[in-house]
C-alpha cells in the first residue's frame, strides 16, 4: 500500500460515502482487505474486470461496487 501522504479522494463504495487514498481500484480492494477474496467490481455502473483494476484510477465522486457471492433464488 502507498505510504506517501495524499489527500483522500471522496468516492462512494457500496452505497456508502468513503474517503480513500487508494489511487486505483486494485488499491481500494486491497485497502478493504479483499485482495484474497473472490469479489467482482464495477465503477459508475460499468463492470471492471479483475485484470483492469490496477489500471483503473479512482476519481472524486466515483461510485464503486465490490460484490461477492451470496445466496440467491
Amino acid at each position: 500500500m502507498s505510504v506517501e501522504t495524499k489527500s483522500p479522494v471522496d468516492i462512494v463504495v457500496n452505497g456508502e460515502p468513503h474517503g480513500t487514498t487508494a489511487a486505483t481500484l486494485a488499491e481500494l480492494v486491497h485497502e478493504r482487505g479483499l485482495t484474497e477474496q473472490r469479489v467482482a467490481t464495477a465503477r459508475n455502473g460499468d463492470f471492471v474486470p479483475e485484470r483492469e483494476r490496477a489500471t483503473t484510477e479512482l476519481r472524486p465522486g466515483d461510485r464503486i461496487e465490490i460484490l461477492s457471492p451470496r445466496h440467491g433464488g
Binding site: 457500496n14 469479489v39 479483475e50 465490490i66 457471492p69 451470496r70 433464488g73
Partner: protein, 274 residues
Amino acid sequence: MNAPEPAIDTRSALTLYGEALPSRMLIGTAQYPSPHVLAEAVRASGAGIVTVSLRREQARGRTGERFLELIEALGVRVLPNTAGCHTVKEAITTAQMAREVFGTDWLKLEVIANDDTLQPEVFGLVEAAKALAADGFKVLPYTTEDLSVADKLLAAGCKVLMPWGAPIGTGRGLANPYALKSLRAYYPDVPLIIDAGIGAPSHAAQAMEMGFDGVLLNTAVAKAGEPVRMAQAFAQAVDAGRIAFEAGLMGVRDMAQPSTPVAGTPFFDLKRGP
C-alpha cells in the same frame, strides 16, 4: 420369472445448453435457516443446478468466500441470477460480474418491473437477453407466460425459457395454467422451466404433468418446517409428475363412467327403489 422392467430414468433426460443434468429440479440457495440445512436440502433435492447471487461485500468481509466454499462442496452447477436488477444496464453489469466471480457463463436473467409483484420487465428482459447472448452468455430468462415475449427471447438467442408459475415468493402455484399449457404446446422442443411461485410439491407435479421440462423453486423448501424433508418431497413430486407426463394422462370427462365392468353386475334384474 419375468425380468424386472427397467426403471424409467426420468432424471437423466433434461438437457440445457447441451449439458445433461441429473435432475429436473433446480433449487435456490436463499432463506434457509442455516448453511448446514441449505447443503442438506440441496442434496436431498437431487438438483444439479443451484441459483446464486452477488451482493455487496463489507470491508474485510468473508461472507462471499464462505458461501462459495459451501456451494462448491456440493458439486453442482451454479446459476447466478440478476435478482433485484430493474434496468438493462444493471442486469448486464451484474451478469458480467457474476461470470467473473462464479466462473460460468450461465445466467438466470431477471429484469424486474415492480418490487411488489416482482413481475418481469419483459421489454428490458429481451434487450438484455440479446446483448448477453451475443456476449456468449447462456441465458435462462425469468419471464412471463406471454407467447410474444417468448418468441422475442428465443430470437434473442435464449435456448431455454423460464416462465413464472406465480410471482416470486407467493407459493400460489400455477396462476395461469391455460397460458402455460399454450406455451408448452407452442414450443414443444424448447426447454421450459417453471420458475417462481411453486409453493407445494403438488404444484411441481402439476407443472411436470403438463410437460414442462423442470421446475426452479426456493422459498417452498427453504421456508418449510423441515426444509430437508420438503426437498425430498419436491424431488419425488417432480419425478412423479414427469413419469406421469411420459406415461400419458387420461382425458378428463364431464360424465361419470364406471370403471368396474357393468356386464355381470348382480341384482340387475331386481326392481330398485320403494
